[in-house]
């Protein structure tokens, strides 16, 4: 207790000195403050990436390379995962709907779950695992081998050269890959419901067409854009801030994948809440 503590109140309750209060507050709010600080640094990186987007020179090649890597490179895995996600959703849907003898609704079930949830979330997670980890590793090893310092000696801003293309390419490619996921997912659903379970194609299609709204796809694509930003930021931030050696690069890669995956799932929840406000009739 400090000597300068104020006079004791008559209640007899235990009195804390300001220093103690500070320490206690630090214990409770310290981790929270850390999280806020890291969030703030991510946002700063995002702002810097965007301000550099409009400054010369525009290195088209870097953007195309990243789009090729994030998009075309992820095509096989997205198609594989998309097909089985659609098939599994159809399978589970049919099992549940069979209780009411309403299997034809599987068209709606598969369509809407893919459009709103499965396609954007799984695409983001898959691309995080594949491209996000690679980004963090690449930037991290560029950092430890002084390649990022070398850029600055040629008056090239590393954020301009390395981060902006990756963020922009992610924003552009995640929605595209999400749509690929949707299409392949529907194909998976088709194989299970029509070919395996012999449900009437006309009815399935009719219910899909009638109940699945373009707004469902719009919602999914908005999510994909935001997931793209989250993924690219987490990967670039972690890679960019590596200090030390090869071990740190590995740690940064793990951190990038974990923080990106977690933020995708958390963002997903809040985005649903926001979208339910924007499109109330589509809230479940």
């Amino acid at each position: 207790m400090s000597d300068t503590a104020p006079t004791q109140p008559s209640s007899g309750a235990q009195e804390f000195s300001p220093a103690q209060v500070g320490r206690l507050a630090g214990r409770f709010f310290g981790p929270l403050l850390g999280a806020v600080a890291i969030f703030g640094q991510h946002m700063l990186l995002l702002v810097r990436a965007f301000t550099w987007l409009f400054r010369r020179p525009f290195r088209m090649r870097l953007y195309l390379e990243q789009m090729e890597f994030i998009g075309v490179g992820s095509l096989p895995i997205i198609m594989l995962v998309g097909f089985f996600s659609g098939a599994v959703t159809a399978l589970q849907g049919i099992t549940a709907l069979a209780m009411f003898d309403q299997q034809r609704w599987v068209g709606y079930a598969v369509g809407v779950s893919l459009a709103r949830e499965l396609a954007p979330v799984f695409t983001a997670l898959m691309i995080t695992a594949r491209a996000g980890s690679a980004m963090a590793t690449e930037l991290g090893s560029m950092r430890i081998t002084e390649q990022i310092d070398a850029l600055t000696t040629f008056a090239v801003n590393p954020v301009h050269y390395l981060v902006t293309p990756r963020v922009v390419a992610s924003i552009l490619m995640l929605p595209v890959m999400t749509m690929v996921f949707n299409v392949v997912g529907l194909l998976g659903g088709y194989v299970i419901s029509i070919l395996v379970y012999q449900i009437d194609l006309g009815q399935v299609l009719e219910l899909f067409r009638h109940w699945v709204d373009p707004v469902d796809y719009v919602q999914g694509l908005i999510k994909a854009v935001i997931f793209g930003i989250a993924m690219a930021l987490a990967a670039c931030y972690q890679g960019f801030n590596v200090r030390g050696g090869a071990k740190e690069v590995g740690r940064a890669t793990t951190a990038a994948v974990v923080s990106s995956s977690v933020s995708v799932l958390i963002l997903d929840y809040f985005l649903i809440e926001i979208m339910n406000v924007i499109w109330p009739s589509h809230g479940m």
Binding site: E138, M142, T145, E146
Partner: protein, 264 residues
């Protein structure tokens, strides 16, 4: 040393005055005064963590000091804006410890990088300048070297490609960051020779950060020792050996590279 600061000095190309830099509570540079001679090989020696790399980064404007001045050809580069710094940086070429070549670019693209980023030159001219350097640095006798990626090159070749990249924009000053660290004695000798030859052939001022004593006294025209954030000894190798500072002696003698008291 001269005080003719503010105008271009014929002898001293870089003049550092009272340079201080702290990172948090840790004071790395505590008032460095140091001059680098035009066209000569200037070496800064010092133990690990004595601020050598920090000093080097200040020269290129990658770090801003807390106080002090750095004059390059009489122009104070401290506190310049981004555009002016970029202009000063063109006078410098930096050779990194492990070359720091861009993994995603091949040899030609690596060497051409400064030209592509800084100017709009026709492709043919860029290629011509790159090939000229490959020839002058004896890199052209390796078949298909132009298309090779850094991962396919040996350590020594990587170093020369890094040197070519630093030289391509015809800098006046070349900075070497611990060029011989981690090399065997023969490779070290080759690098020494490379530094000497480059200084002669290209007429550049070389600034070498090193803790390799043998090399330092072999190739240095001027040697300065950075100790605890200040320069404790500075002069030609012969001057340093004739009147050694005890801290310099302590640092140099264990290497067995030179003997004190006799001028080399």
């Amino acid at each position: 040393m001269t005080n003719g600061i503010g105008t271009r000095d014929e002898r001293w190309q870089i003049q550092i005055r009272g340079l201080c830099k702290s990172f948090g509570a840790q004071q790395v540079l505590r008032g460095v005064d140091l001059d680098f001679e035009r066209g000569k090989t200037n070496i800064v020696i010092g133990g690990s963590g004595q601020g050598k790399s920090v000093l080097m980064k200040h020269l290129m404007g990658l770090l801003q000091p807390d106080s002090g001045h750095i004059y390059v050809d009489g122009e104070d580069i401290v506190g310049l804006d981004e555009v002016a710094i970029a202009k000063v940086q063109r006078k410098f070429g930096m050779v990194f410890q492990y070359a720091a070549l861009f993994d995603s670019l091949n040899v030609v693209e690596n060497i051409a990088f400064p030209l592509i980023e800084r100017y709009r030159l026709p492709k043919s001219e860029i290629l011509e300048r790159v090939r000229d350097l490959l020839r002058r640095l004896d890199l052209d006798n390796v078949p298909g070297v132009e298309e090779k990626f850094p991962a396919e090159l040996s350590g020594g070749m990587r170093k020369r490609v890094g040197l070519a990249r630093a030289l391509v924009d015809r800098p006046q000053i070349l900075l070497y960051d611990e060029p011989t660290t981690g090399l065997d004695p023969i490779a070290t000798k080759n690098v020494d020779e490379m530094i000497r030859r480059t200084a002669d052939d290209f007429g550049v001022t070389s600034v070498v950060i090193s803790h390799d004593m043998a090399s330092t006294f072999r190739i240095g025209d001027r040697v300065a020792m950075l100790y605890d954030g200040t320069i404790i000894a500075c002069g030609t190798p012969a001057e340093l050996l004739a009147a050694p500072d005890p801290r310099l002696r302590e640092f140099v003698e264990p290497s067995g590279a030179v003997k004190f008291g006799v001028s080399s």
